[in-house]
């Protein structure tokens, strides 16, 4: 079986399980809505206009719900030692990485796709075509940190305090993409020229490439005994 087909089979399996349960998706979505609500109410409406905090709120929400979403990736495999079964299958180790990563990315993007319209609604963001560009920025940011998250969640589930450890490990790694994405979002919403965004976009693209490659290389070290 080729790496690509094996990876697709693993991703399809994860997404099918998620589709049948919907627990993790529901949890992450509810979490995103909760964060948005807290921001709306924990603000002095007389002095801080909604529009001023909208970009930062979007990125706090997307980053935190992505963390919640990533935690489930390997928890699934812990029950009945399912991971051992996959590791025994005659497929290359990086097929497992690519499969897990694409399922994670799809999952994180789904949560973001649900949170995004709610954010537009709650924060009275004017629906303009610029929002498509913001969504593209969200995709660009998610590619890289889900790669790091896939690698780290494979480690974290095998430790004590798995749910606590993943955010602690992943947080420093989320800073460059989330930081760049929020900077880009601020500029997009303010209608600044493309030239101001260029540096941040390049940073995210470089990050995606670098960490996809390294996480894929290190993945066998993590799963092999």
């Amino acid at each position: 079986m080729s790496t690509l087909r094996a990876a697709m089979a693993i991703a399809a399996k994860d997404l099918r399980i998620e589709w049948r349960h919907k627990t993790a998706l529901l949890t992450a979505t509810m979490f995103a809505i909760l964060v948005l609500l807290i921001f709306v109410f924990a603000r002095d409406p007389a002095s801080v206009p909604l529009a001023a905090v909208a970009p930062s709120v979007l990125w706090v929400t997307l980053a935190l719900s992505a963390l919640v979403a990533l935690n489930r990736a390997f928890l699934l495999e812990r029950e009945h030692s399912a991971l051992e079964g996959i590791l025994l299958a005659p497929v290359p180790r990086n097929a497992l990485f690519w499969g897990k990563w694409s399922a994670n990315l799809a999952f994180v993007l789904t949560v973001q796709a649900v949170a995004f319209p709610i954010w537009i609604l709650f924060f009275n963001v004017t629906p303009t075509p610029v929002l498509f560009a913001v969504a593209a920025v969200a995709l660009l940011a998610a590619i890289g940190f889900t790669a790091v998250g896939t690698l780290f969640s494979a480690m974290a589930v095998r430790t004590r305090f798995a749910e606590l450890l993943l955010p602690v490990l992943l947080l420093p790694f989320m800073i460059p993409p989330v930081f760049a994405a929020s900077e880009a979002t601020v500029r997009l919403l303010a209608g600044r020229p493309m030239g101001e965004l260029w540096g941040w976009l390049r940073l995210m693209a470089l990050y995606d490439l670098a960490f996809l490659v390294l996480a894929n290389l290190l993945f066998p070290v993590v799963v092999d005994e």
Binding site: V148, L151, R160, V168, L169, A180, L203, F211, L214, A215
Partner: protein, 232 residues
């Protein structure tokens, strides 16, 4: 007591001896900073932090870089001593980073008027500190020594790649942090007394790093040796 434990105890003693030497050196740096160097015209006494803060930054950076290199070598050579060494170097790096993050605000309050600003260098040091704090959180959460060593090495190597990205991220902002006055393309712009004290401090911090890491390595090696005795 096994040979390995005795040897580890010897390493700890050597490390402590070197550390003692460094502490004496540090006292000399304090004395030089107080008696020998002139007060700076604009910053006054606050400028004296200059003899502690940049050397701490250098020692912490050395600790993290050495830990990263040792981790990378561990994955290839699978020698447990490299893991113990990486752990020792990272922990000493973390201690110096704490020194960096506490002395910085003391200087910043009188000079910048704020304990903390989101300046590039401050943000960078903070994130690096968090990265290695995560490294130790992971180490403490894994029981099996071989698994712990592999996982820790993976985080340290990922961290090495992360550092240039954090650098890029924070420097896309402007920085108000004082720029280097010693290591730069033209001549150092410092009076001789200040420069000599500054360089002495770098030597002292290097000795301190070596002493601390040696002692910490001995402690780690002793723990590994005792674990082996228990297991065997």
């Amino acid at each position: 007591m096994t040979d390995a434990v005795q040897q580890a105890n010897r390493t700890i003693r050597v490390g402590l001896a070197i550390s003692l030497l460094a502490v004496i050196g540090l006292a000399a740096v304090y004395l030089m900073a107080w008696e020998y160097t002139p007060a700076e015209r604009f910053q006054g006494l606050a400028q004296k932090i200059f003899y502690i803060h940049p050397p701490a930054a250098y020692a912490s950076e050395m600790g993290f870089v050495v830990a990263g290199i040792a981790s990378l070598l561990y994955l290839f050579l699978k020698d447990f001593r490299l893991d113990t060494f990486a752990e020792a170097s990272a922990e000493v790096g973390l201690a110096f980073a704490l020194m960096l993050l506490t002395t910085g605000p003391m200087w910043a309050k009188p000079i910048w008027g704020a304990w903390w600003t989101w300046d590039a260098r401050l943000t960078f040091s903070l994130i690096e500190f968090l990265l290695f704090a995560g490294y130790f959180a992971l180490r403490s959460a894994v029981r099996d020594p071989a698994e712990r060593a592999r996982y820790a090495a993976v985080v340290a190597i990922m961290g090495m790649l992360l550092v240039p990205f954090i650098h890029l991220t924070v420097y896309l902002f402007n920085t108000t942090h004082p720029q280097p006055v010693v290591v730069k393309t033209d001549k150092p712009s410092l009076p001789g007394e200040m420069l000599r004290t500054f360089l002495t401090s770098f030597v002292v911090f290097t000795v301190m790093y070596i002493g601390f890491v040696t002692a910490r390595y001995g402690i780690g090696a002793r723990r590994v040796a005792l674990e082996m005795t228990d297991a065997g």
